[in-house]
């Protein structure tokens, strides 16, 4: 029932986990995975009110990325 969404659509205050690349939009996903966006990694939106680029909290650090790039990563809500 946990339908996969992309990183670009995650919501504030909820916890997610990286599922993998989005096959339809993976141009940049390879590079992102090297930055730590690999399957099973917890990720959430930082409490920052900027909507694009989005700022996510992952592996103890904050990364800003464009929504367009974020679309390359699939996540599931925990």
């Amino acid at each position: 029932m946990n339908k996969n969404i992309t990183l670009a659509n995650i919501k504030n205050g909820r916890s997610y986990e990286v599922e993998g690349f989005n096959p339809g939009n993976s141009a940049y996903a390879e590079k992102l995975s090297k930055m730590g966006f690999v399957k099973g990694t917890p990720v959430e939106l930082a409490q920052v009110k900027i909507t694009d680029p989005i700022v996510v909290q992952i592996r103890g650090s904050r990364i800003a990325l464009r929504k367009n790039e974020a679309k390359g990563i699939l996540v599931k809500e925990l």
Binding site: E30, K34, A64
Partner: protein, 712 residues
Amino acid sequence: MHKIERIAIAGVPNSGKTTLFNNLTGARQKVGNWPGVTVEKIEGSFPLQDITVELVDLPGTYNLSPDTEDQKVAERVISGGEYDLIINVIDATNLSRNLFLTMDLKERTHQIIVLLNMTDVAEKEGIKIDIERLSTDLDLPVIPIVAVDKTSVKKAVEQIEHAIEHLPPYDSPVSNREVMDTAGKYSHIDEIYSRVAQEIKDRSTNFTNKVDNIVMNRFAAIPIFLVSMFITFWFAIGLGSVFIDFFDIIGGLIFVDIPEALLEAVSSPEWLTVMIAGGIGVGCQTVATFVPVVFFMFLALGILEDLGYMARVGVVADRFMRKIGLPGSAFIPMIVGFGCTVPAVMAARTLTTKRDRFMTIFMAPFMSCGARLPVYALFCAALFGAYSGLAVFLIYLVGLFMAILTGYCLKNTLFKGTSSNFVMDLPLYHTPRIGAVFKSAWLRLRSFIKRAGVIVVAAVFVLSVLNSIGYKNGEYSFGNENSKSSILAYVGKAIGPVFKPMGISKENWPASVALFTGLFAKEAIVGTVNALYATNDISENQEVAVEKEAGGLEIGGAITEAFTTVGEGLVGVFSSFDLLGLGLISEDQATVSDEIGADTSVYQHIAANFTVFSAFAYLLFVLMYFPCLAVVGAARQEMGGYYAGVMVVYSTLLAWSVATFFYQVAEGHNLFYIMLSLVMFTGIYGWLHLLGKQEKSKVTLVAPPPVIKSCM
């Protein structure tokens, strides 16, 4: 045991590796480029095991895949085996993402010592790290360090000396361990992390996150951004400009006046004086005038970077910068461009990819710089009257539009196929370390003087000599600067017809000659136009010698004057918000000519030689054509001679086409020229397209860098 003589420092951006490098090497540093690429190379040396070892600071990278130029350089250096030891600096507050690079390094060499940096910050953030365990799990020596603290660095050096004794033999093959894929590496890292690190505090409410909540708040983000950008501009351009006249006067004294006086004292031949004082001397003086703005710009960038706000600038500005195909971080070079193009070109090096850097450099000269303003002011006062403000505004707007057009054009031609992206790590905020910031600005300034300076001096030399040598009645003479008999004037006259389509008639040759002196600095156009129209007035037989500066060397006077300008400038910069100097634009001819050092009679000449439309076309050309020599020098330093050349040709052709198109549509109504300018636009586009294709085939021809096999 293998003797350690050359060491490379590797680490992710913001891991503190440069701080460590600074504290290790002290003053023994130099900045250059890695061979064949335009990636900055910082070298130094420090004592280790009783000898002086060479140390190089590798570009900051997250991994060693050849995605960016920086990463390619790091990969090549590490795989090439040139260095006996890799010091891998990792940030204790961001362990898991830093360890990825460590994994990549391990695939390529055994000779690694890990320095776990910012252990103090990690403690504050509530992260506890079991260093011994980390060392066992990584199978590498791990030494804790606080890179900003000199005592800690000293202690670490002793530990490094000790650890070297226990490194595996230098020539032992890199392990048979299979090369892991990305997911494999991270799951390995996660395993290690769970064993060695403990997070005992919730970090979501730490200082950095609190600041970010304000700085990147929906309402406060833009005002804070604008204020900080204003301060940056004020600092780099406003404060930097205060010292321009000072450097100009002192530079003139040291490089031009004193050598000239000395040469005259030993009664050297005139040609020698012209070459040394008028050529090389003036070249050095030109470079000297850029010293303050370049220095202050690097200072401003260093402070923003060290503070941690630079990354946030990128985030906030990305929204609109992406529309022109650039990441948000390109905003600063663009804004600095309104002050001076030279530091703007150099600021582009803060961008991560070659494409973004080069595109920014191509676009920066279209941001109308402060040196072009006196030219606008002169022509506006002569012709536009009450519409001066509007005219100047339009010119700035055209510049902006041309920059955007250039971005669009390059995206589809020269840099086709490489898309822009924006992924940026947001580092923790911390207080800038002023000493380190000053030092890095000084190093970069020195490298600008050395590397861009050479080409500037050479080009200024050639132009100055051509400007000085004159030919009249079968005799050559010197000292013909800004007169109608200099070689430069002949060239200008000869080339005059080229400017006819944009409304500059043959009789108006001073305007085309001035375009050549404008290469020194665009404001030089004012002086040339002023002088040439004036001499043109006087009939041939009673031509007066071009006014020579009052004879005699007045060292004391010059120095006093130099200091006075600093005082006056400081008063100005703290009392006025008009950083662009737009106050110069006014209808009052007397005020303007007084400010820019032209005679009031020049207005009648301009009015007689130009129409409103041809003047505007001329100003459009001045806005866009061949950037001044210092910019070319800086562009060559940042992009190499080839791309700097492409940029110069591109901007000059574009300037001609735009000016011609405007003039012909507005006034000339010559269908042929209108068509010609349109054909030129297409031609420029096609040419860039061709270059882009060539570039691509060149890339595939280059052999891939040697990769050390991981399975032996």
